[in-house]
Subunit: 343 residues, 2 copies
DNA sequence: TTGTACGCGTTATCAC
DNA sequence: GTGATAACGCGTACAA
């Protein structure tokens, strides 16, 4: 009186292997998990059976029994932006090296809190033991906080790329590097095209840009807001082009710099002769812009590696595994900056 | 005599919900899966209990019982290339819309067969019901074929972005669009900078480029090989610059075009006055290159959507769900092409 | 070093 | 419309 008809075409299970190898399922389990305490030739027999049957551990069953899934989740904004993608590479590598798989949930650019929570939920329900937040979330929302902090109901570990002290790239340092470089070249002030205001990085860079100018006794001009896209950089470029004495610009991403420089060129201002530009990221194409971009490099892959490493350590309850990659920004000087013209 | 000490801090289970709502677990299951056949107020009671307890379905348990995981796997090369990333966006969207999650396994650029198989295995072991192959795999290898075809041991569905007839972007059409445009402008021949030879696309485009030229009675010049990177495009550019009568180039990606154009400029050849360039992809920065790139657009997001849609249909055993997005390439004319100089 | 027995949390089946 | 019960395939505890 079986309440479910047995499937005859089902995948080979531990029992099948055990039977074929003439051992108990427990021994098969021990061999598969490589935990030792099995005589060499017993193991060999098991492995032979595994091979013959094409047996593979059933992840769902294993995870149900052990309570572990070895899955990481990542939440990013539309993944075709260079930073998200490069981050992913580092995360992937580290996860794979430690036997974890990674599931990604992408949310739209200015996703609502609901969309974000939905992504979060999907990842958790699916069994992610830890989640990397690669998005700029405002932790003010109570609903978000309820999920972002661990509760009895949501028990995955969390790590946030713009909040976790050990991971954060020093955004103020990025702005300082850029502004000091420009000032050092002899420019009287530095204009600033910011990224999307929803991002923590944006505010941090803007503040540091402002502070650095003040430290030099310079009153900061107004920020020109943009949103990371080349299009927004182009619009900012038209604004800058209309300001005759703007000779130096700190723009918050390489992609925006492409747009900005084009707008400048169209307005008859040359870079770097008329205006110097330093941007942020050092994407692969930065060296091939016209002119090649002077930019502050952000080590996205290393950030990804560091985040994954930390998260896995958290999950496994130890302090650190392997060496934490450094995440220091670095100024790469190319051809989009020069001293201001004599007048 | 419990062989395992009961954890008191464990997450709420179906049983807890059932108890609180005063129903059976089966009813909870029915409510959670939304399959109906539950009286409205019973459902309400269950939902209230779910809410109070913060209950969430345990994916591993559900999948063990049902045999379904609703997980998709994607194998791509190091995901910071624009095409992989954009593909991912489309896949994500479609997967999420259909209740699937997606796990990604990245392999290095010229990954060995072993590395590829390793990625494949990880995804399958983890329970992927279908796998999207976004990498250029040579199906010649027996080991690969054994995995790539379904066997009793490996039972996930497969779909390959460069093999599955319904998905493939017509690579020959891309090359034809580019070459015809250049020839139509009056150029006598068209040089070709190819992508990485490991990619199916590369061969298909090269062949179509050659054929198109022959159709016009032109003997094709030698292919200049490259590997998708801007650096390789730069090297190809130096080669082209050394050929005085080269006035038109079909280069297989926008990123290479950036490198190519820079090399040309450095050699004193201007684009498009001295040499016209048409590339492929239409990445976000293409419109902001100097000059803006004339390029053949590949609809990566749509390709991703189409792939996910097809794969899900395969998994669920029906023919098609929703409308298949079109994946036709499209020539975008900007400023990197012009008629050849009079001489 | 190896085997036995149970339980992980859910869904499927059938009876009511 | 609802409930009882048997799987699903594995890891864990403990005995041998």
């Amino acid at each position: 009186m079986s309440p479910r008809r047995p499937r005859e075409d089902r995948a080979p299970s531990q029992v099948d292997v055990a039977k074929l190898a003439g051992v108990s399922t427990q021994t098969v389990s021990r061999v598969m998990s490589g935990q030792g305490n099995v005589r060499a030739d017993t193991a060999r027999r098991v492995l032979a059976a595994v091979d013959e049957l094409g047996y593979r551990v059933h992840a769902a069953a294993a995870s149900l029994a052990s309570g572990r899934t070895r899955q990481l989740g990542v939440i990013v904004v539309s993944t075709d932006r260079y930073s998200s993608a490069a981050l992913g590479v580092g995360i992937q590598q580290t996860a794979a090296a430690n036997g974890y798989t990674v599931s990604t949930a992408a949310v739209a650019d200015h996703a609502s809190v609901d969309a974000f929570l939905e992504a979060f939920d999907r990842l958790e329900r699916q069994g992610a033991e830890g989640i990397i937040l690669g998005v700029p979330i405002e932790l003010e929302s109570p609903a978000l906080r309820a999920r972002t902090e661990r509760t009895p109901a949501t028990r995955s570990e969390r790590i946030s790329l713009d909040q976790d002290a050990a991971l954060v790239v020093d955004q103020a340092a990025i702005a300082r590097l850029a502004v000091e470089h420009l000032l050092g070249l002899g420019h009287e002030t530095v204009w600033h095209v910011s990224g999307d205001v929803y991002w923590t990085e944006t505010r941090q860079r803007s503040e540091a840009w402002e502070q650095t100018l003040r430290d030099h006794g310079i009153t900061p001009p107004p920020v020109i807001p943009a949103d990371w896209t080349p299009e927004s950089g182009y619009r900012a470029g038209r604004t800058i082009a209309a300001i005759p004495d703007a000779t130096a610009v700190f723009v918050s991403s390489d992609e925006m710099a492409f747009g900005l420089i084009r707008a400048l060129h169209e307005a008859g201002r040359s870079v770097p002769e008329d205006v110097s530009v330093v941007s942020v990221d050092d994407i692969a194409l930065a060296a091939y812009a016209s002119p090649a971009l002077t930019t502050v490099r952000q080590p996205f892959e290393d950030m990804g590696r560091a985040a994954a490493l930390r998260l896995i350590a958290q999950i496994e309850g130890h302090e650190a595994i392997g060496e934490m990659p450094s995440t220091d920004p670095q100024l790469i000087i190319r051809s989009s900056t020069a001293p201001p013209r004599e007048r």
